[in-house]
Structure formats: structure tokens, C-alpha cells
């Protein structure tokens, strides 16, 4: 399958600061690519280069066959990180205007706008001014405005930020539908749970450099499984269990500690657990945890969890 988007050794510098460093990856047609990284990792800078809003310092891009998004802007849908619409317009007017800039004739844009607003439960709000809508409703309107012209490539910069869990779920469903209809979706996020649920392919970015490029499963395979033990046991005792390579200790609210034990890929969690009970360690709760994308990110990028935001 051809790549709708590819970057080849792309670097972007602002003066002495390198925002994106030698980045290469490709997004295949009709797939969902998660572009992951903490704030300041270079995600927005990369997406702006893709759109042609800024130029790379070095390296090349291919966006729907063009050197950047400008010549093919009518075939791209874009939702920026910091969202905004004309506050005095109605949702229908905003969608018709923005889709019109992408070449969709006004009557067709109006028809699609009404249909999509109805589908997203915004039928009753279609003629209200945007300033009178809730933030979640306005964000849905903006996403509809970004995709009403049925773009081949959809770029969403932090699309989940600021949304409540219900609207996050709705948005996930919209993204899946876009891919199902054949669009290539690239979305950036620093919340791993969304990427884990949605993406066929993830690119992990840290400090402007690519840390990983592959499937979600491949990413998770890079992180160790963990044995979580809660009770009144010391870190040294947990570290001495068979197959345990590292231990992270955190206090529990009701007293005691949680020992999160990273396991060697070849080790058996059952063996470690058996050994703990055999030694008579005070364990009130245990869990054998498969690695999440969040764990994989930490391993792959070396970024500490406090630099990540917890999913809403």
C-alpha cells in the first residue's frame, strides 16, 4: 500500500533550537497513525511542515505526492491544537465557509454540514451562534468543518485535549469512521490510551527525535511485563525475587507500599509470585500486568511518567 504521507530525514531548527531532528516515517493510505510524544516533543512543528505552514531546515516530505501540503491543501483536513472558530457564525455557516475554502460547493457543503451535525447530536444547535455552544460541541463542529470536504489525509493535532470522556469516545468513533471510509488519519497526542485504542501504527517522538516507529503491539513488546505487589514488603525483598530486573516503590494511602517489579522478558511472573509467597512476604494484593503503550513510551523514550499527562 502507498504512503499518503512520508518524511525523509526531516530536521527543523528555530535559531539554535532543534525542534525536529532527522525524522523519518510514513503513514500508509487508509490507516490511522498516532504521532505520540510529550508536550514540546516536536509534534506540532512536524505537522506544520506537513501542512506547508513552515519549511523544513533539511530533509524532504511527500504529502499525497506533493513536497508539502500546500499544493494539495484541498485534499487535506486539519484540526489544529489550539482550536477556534468564528464565534458569531452558526455551525452550518462555519462548516460551509471552511469546506468552501477546500473547494466544496456551498449547497453540497450545507447539505453535508446539516447531515454531519445531526449525526453528532448537534442538529438542534446548527443555527445557534458558536459562542453559545459548549466547548465540546464547538470542538465537534470544528472537526466536522475539517472533514466535511472528505479529505484523503486528515491531520488532527491533539484532538482529544479538553474533551470530556463521552466526547472523547465520540471523537474516537469519528476517527475510526474516517479510516473506514478510506482516509489516512494522522493524529498527535500525548495521551497514550487513545493511541492504544485507535492506531494501526505509532510514531513515538521525544526531544524532537524519533524513538519508535511501528505497530502498537511492537511498541508494547519493548516494555517489560510487571509484577505489582501491594502490602508491607520492602523494595529489597521484591528485588530479590526471581526474574525481577528493577523495582519502583510508591506509598499506599492506607499504609504499606506498592512495589512495581519489572520482569525479565524470559522470566515467568508465576515463579516470582510463588517465590514471594514461599518467603512469607506480607502481600495483600498482587497483579501480573501486561505493558501498556504508556509503559512502552517510558522505556522507549526514557521520559519519566511525570512528564506525561494521565488520560482523562
Amino acid at each position: 500500500m502507498d504512503a499518503a504521507l512520508s518524511l525523509d530525514h526531516v530536521t527543523k531548527r528555530y535559531g539554535d533550537f532543534t525542534a525536529v531532528d532527522d525524522l523519518s516515517f510514513a503513514a500508509r493510505q487508509g490507516r490511522i497513525l498516532g504521532f505520540l510524544g510529550p508536550n514540546g516533543a516536536g509534534k506540532t512543528s512536524t505537522l506544520r511542515m506537513v501542512l506547508g505552514l513552515s519549511s523544513p531546515t533539511s530533509g524532504t516530505l511527500s504529502v499525497l505526492g506533493a513536497p508539502d501540503g500546500r499544493p494539495v491543501r484541498d485534499r487535506i483536513g486539519f484540526l489544529p491544537e489550539e482550536r477556534g472558530l468564528y464565534r458569531r457564525m452558526t455551525p452550518v455557516e462555519a462548516i460551509v465557509f471552511l469546506a468552501g475554502l477546500k473547494g466544496l460547493p456551498a449547497p453540497e457543503a450545507r447539505r453535508r454540514a446539516r447531515q454531519m451535525l445531526e449525526e453528532q447530536g448537534l442538529g438542534a444547535a446548527q443555527n445557534r451562534q458558536i459562542r453559545n455552544l459548549s466547548k465540546g460541541m464547538a470542538q465537534k463542529v470544528q472537526l466536522i468543518a475539517a472533514i466535511a470536504h472528505r479529505p484523503e489525509l486528515v491531520i488532527l493535532d491533539e484532538p482529544f485535549s479538553g474533551l470530556d470522556p463521552v466526547n472523547q469516545q465520540t471523537l474516537e468513533s469519528m476517527i475510526r469512521n474516517l479510516a473506514r471510509d478510506g482516509a489516512t488519519v494522522v493524529f498527535s497526542t500525548h495521551v497514550m490510551q487513545h493511541a492504544e485504542r485507535l492506531c494501526d501504527h505509532v510514531v513515538l517522538l521525544a526531544g524532537g527525535r524519533k524513538a519508535f516507529d511501528g505497530s502498537v503491539t511492537e511498541a508494547k513488546d519493548r516494555a517489560p511485563r510487571a509484577l505489582v505487589l501491594e502490602g508491607r514488603l520492602e523494595a529489597a525483598a521484591a528485588a530479590a525475587l526471581p526474574g525481577v530486573t528493577a523495582v519502583a516503590t510508591s506509598p499506599l494511602d492506607g499504609g504499606g507500599q506498592r512495589q512495581t517489579c519489572a520482569l525479565d522478558p524470559q522470566a515467568s511472573g508465576q515463579e516470582a509470585l510463588k517465590s514471594a509467597f514461599a518467603q512469607g512476604l506480607d502481600i495483600q494484593r498482587f497483579e501480573l500486568r501486561e505493558p501498556s503503550l504508556h509503559d512502552a513510551f517510558i522505556v522507549l523514550t526514557g521520559t519519566t511518567p511525570d512528564q506525561m499527562e494521565v488520560a482523562a
Partner: protein
């Protein structure tokens, strides 16, 4: 082009829908009507000032002459109402003011709750006549009237004493030269038509100034709103910078010219109804010699130059307060032409205006105002080319600034602005 038109149309509709647009449409005619009506009403309803006139000269020849002059005002209304003193006055002229002080200061009122506006005491004899004026209103026109009447009578007395007969004096006073204005261009009698180009040139320059001021203000606020509401980045992903920039400028120009068009149409209709000769002459001046195209050229170029600057500034600011810092130099620049425009009306060939015509930011104003004096063609072409080159440069820089500003975050200081202009992003 399609996107440019769509952006222009959105800008236009967005402003036409606002209450402010309709208020500004009605504000000028209503304001002018209110000012004219109010001043006319004040003129008609204001009572003639109450004045005490004391003539202490031997023969008391001045008092009746001044009284006659005061009674014969424009429109048959008296210039002043001469009243009897409200109190018995002392003989000493210097003490009269003190005696009338409560009335002159307004502490005591005359009949009908009027204030005593002034007291004139004419005293002395022969050629040593003095007029003491007691008033707290230094701008009272009655003072000039008294001075003129008394001086005229003194002159007549002197001439009569020298043997000139009163009849001859009357004849001499009636002598007046015939003054005729000729136009050096037509070698015929000058008419309103000859003076109109200067007035229209001045008016066109002021029109350009007001278009820039209002249009650029609308643009600035519009872009600031888009920047703060993060719409600009979406626009940049959907259209080119020139499409956005010119779309906005065109849309706001449409708004400004709609207002001016409505005012102009109403004004033309009123002029055709109430002053058809003037309306015909204005039409002749504008159409004759392509003056209207001359004005249109400078209007378009001037508006484009300043609108581009204001739009670019707006892209760097999220609040009007931020914009004020960057706007300062531009506002000073815009104030300078206004100072010189009135001079252009009186003396359009002043060397200072000619020099200023060569400074591109002032060219549109100065060349428009100098239209009446018919500046040499080489100056028209030279300043025009220089101005067009400047407009192209300003638009290019504004495009880079707009792009950089639209994508920037946080407050931009002057150093940061220059860095972004050099980097373009």
C-alpha cells in the same frame, strides 16, 4: 482567487451583520444633522446679550451711533440689547465696574433672569476718547462693534474739522472697488468650478485618511480576534497568505466603501435637489481630465499600503493592548498628513508639500490634495512609481509578518518581531 473571494465575502458579511456597522452608517448623517440643527437652534434661540452703554463724552454723539449699530443685526435681530443700568452708577468711569460687579459676575440677575454681558463706558473728549469694557467674556463680539463705531465717528469728526463736508464723507464711505477673480487656466472669470478641484482634492485626501483610519481599525481588530480565537491557523492551512491577506483587505474595503457609497449617494441626491448647480460642477470636475481615476489610484494604493501594515500587526497580537505598542509609530505617521492637508487647500504649491509627496507613506495624501494645482506629470509618475514600489515591498513584508505572526504564540517584542520577519516563520 476562489478562496480570496470567499474570505472577502466572509469578512464583508461578518461586519455588515453587526450593529456597529449600521450605527456607523447612520452616525455621520445623524451627527451632522444634530450638530447643524443644534447650532442653528442655539443661534435662533439665544437672546441678544444685555449690555449697559454709558457715553460720558461731551455731546454724547457716540452712544446713539453704537445703539443704532447694535439694533441692526443680521436677519433683523439686534446684536445686543442695550439696557438701563440696574443701579445708579457713579460718575467716575473706573468705579462703574465695581458698581456693576454683582450683575457682571452673575451673582445678581437682570429682569428675565438674564446676566449682564458687558458694560461699555465711553469717556474723554476731542481726540482722546477711551472705551472701558467691563466683562468677563473676552470673546464678546460687541467690543469690536463699539470700537469700530467709535473709531469711525472720530475719523469723521477729524475730517469735518478739516473742512470735509458731511455729504462728501457719506459719498466717500459708499465707495467700494469691484473685485473680480480670474482663472489663469481659462483666462476667464473664476467661478466655483475653478475652486472646486482644490476643495475636492482636499476632500478626497481626507476621505482617504478616514478610509484608512476606519478600515484599518476594523482589519486590525478582526485579525486580533481571529488570532486570539485561533482561527488564523485553520485559515493558513486552507488558503495561501496572499489569499488571506488580500481577502481580508478586500472584504473590509467593501465594508468601508459600502458606508461611503451610501453617504455619497444620499449626499448626491440631496445636492441635486438643493444645489443642482454645485452638483453639476462637482460632476464636471471629477469626470473632466480623469481626476476621479487619479483619486481612485491614490485611494487604492494608500489603502492597500496601510491596510497591509495593520493586518500584519494584528497577526502578532491577541489583544488590542498588545497592538497599541506596535501601532504607535504608524499612528504618528498617519497624523502628519492631516497637519499638512489644510495647508494644501490654501497653498497647494508649497515646497514642503512637494517634498512630502516624495515620501511614500505620505504620497497618497499629498498628491491627492495637490490635484488642484496640477502637479507636473513627471512628479505624478515619479511619486506614483515610488509609491507602488513601496506598496509592493510593504505587502511582501506584511505577508511574511502575517504568516509569522499567525503561527506565533505569546507576546512578541520588537526584537522578536524583527527576528520573525527575517526568518519568515
Amino acid at each position: 482567487m476562489r478562496r480570496l473571494i470567499k474570505i472577502a465575502a466572509r469578512e464583508y458579511i461578518a461586519y455588515v451583520r453587526t450593529v456597529g456597522f449600521w450605527l456607523s452608517m447612520l452616525a455621520l448623517p445623524l451627527g451632522m444633522g444634530l450638530v447643524l440643527g443644534a447650532s442653528g437652534y442655539m443661534e435662533a434661540s439665544a437672546p441678544a446679550p444685555a449690555i449697559v452703554l454709558i457715553d460720558q463724552t461731551p455731546g454724547q454723539t457716540f452712544g446713539p451711533l453704537v445703539a443704532k449699530k447694535f439694533s441692526d443685526g443680521p436677519g433683523g435681530r439686534p446684536r445686543a440689547d442695550i439696557i438701563d443700568p440696574p443701579v445708579v452708577l457713579p460718575a467716575d468711569p473706573r468705579a462703574i465696574g465695581a458698581a456693576l460687579k454683582p450683575w457682571l459676575a452673575g451673582n445678581l440677575k437682570l429682569e428675565g433672569k438674564r446676566k449682564l454681558a458687558a458694560a461699555f463706558v465711553i469717556h474723554g473728549q476731542g481726540e482722546a476718547i477711551a472705551i472701558d469694557v467691563w466683562t468677563d467674556n473676552p470673546l464678546l463680539t460687541a467690543t469690536d462693534t463699539v470700537r469700530t463705531v467709535v473709531a469711525g465717528q472720530m475719523e469723521r469728526s477729524r475730517l469735518e474739522a478739516a473742512g470735509v463736508s458731511p455729504a462728501l464723507l457719506l459719498q466717500a464711505a459708499a465707495l467700494k472697488p469691484t473685485v473680480t477673480d480670474f482663472s489663469p487656466k481659462t483666462s476667464e472669470k473664476a467661478s466655483l468650478l475653478n475652486r472646486l478641484p482644490g476643495v475636492i482634492g482636499f476632500g478626497a485626501a481626507m476621505l482617504l485618511w478616514s478610509v484608512i483610519f476606519t478600515g484599518a481599525g476594523i482589519l486590525l481588530n478582526g485579525v486580533i480576534e481571529e488570532k486570539s480565537s485561533k482561527v488564523l491557523e485553520v485559515l493558513l492551512s486552507s488558503a495561501t497568505v496572499p489569499e488571506i491577506l488580500f481577502g481580508k483587505i478586500l472584504g473590509v474595503a467593501g465594508v468601508t466603501f459600502t458606508v461611503l457609497g451610501v453617504w455619497g449617494t444620499v449626499g448626491t441626491i440631496l445636492m441635486n435637489v438643493f444645489a443642482p448647480d454645485v452638483a453639476r460642477d462637482v460632476g464636471k470636475v471629477l469626470m473632466g481630465g480623469g481626476l476621479i481615476f487619479y483619486f481612485a489610484f491614490y485611494l487604492a494604493a494608500g489603502y492597500l499600503m496601510y491596510a497591509s501594515i495593520f493586518t500584519a500587526i494584528g497577526a502578532f497580537c491577541e489583544t488590542t493592548r498588545e497592538a497599541q505598542t506596535l501601532l504607535g509609530p504608524i499612528m504618528i505617521l498617519l497624523t502628519i498628513p492631516v497637519i499638512f492637508l489644510s495647508q494644501a487647500l490654501r497653498r497647494p504649491d508649497t515646497p514642503a508639500l512637494e517634498i512630502m509627496s516624495w515620501i511614500p507613506p505620505f504620497t497618497p495624501f499629498m498628491m491627492t490634495a495637490r490635484a488642484a494645482s496640477g502637479p507636473p506629470i513627471w512628479q505624478v509618475l515619479g511619486t506614483g512609481v515610488l509609491m507602488l514600489a513601496t506598496v509592493a515591498l510593504v505587502v511582501w513584508i506584511a505577508g511574511r509578518a502575517f504568516r509569522a505572526g499567525a503561527l506565533s504564540t505569546g507576546k512578541v517584542d520588537f526584537k522578536g518581531l524583527i527576528a520573525k520577519l527575517r526568518g519568515g516563520e
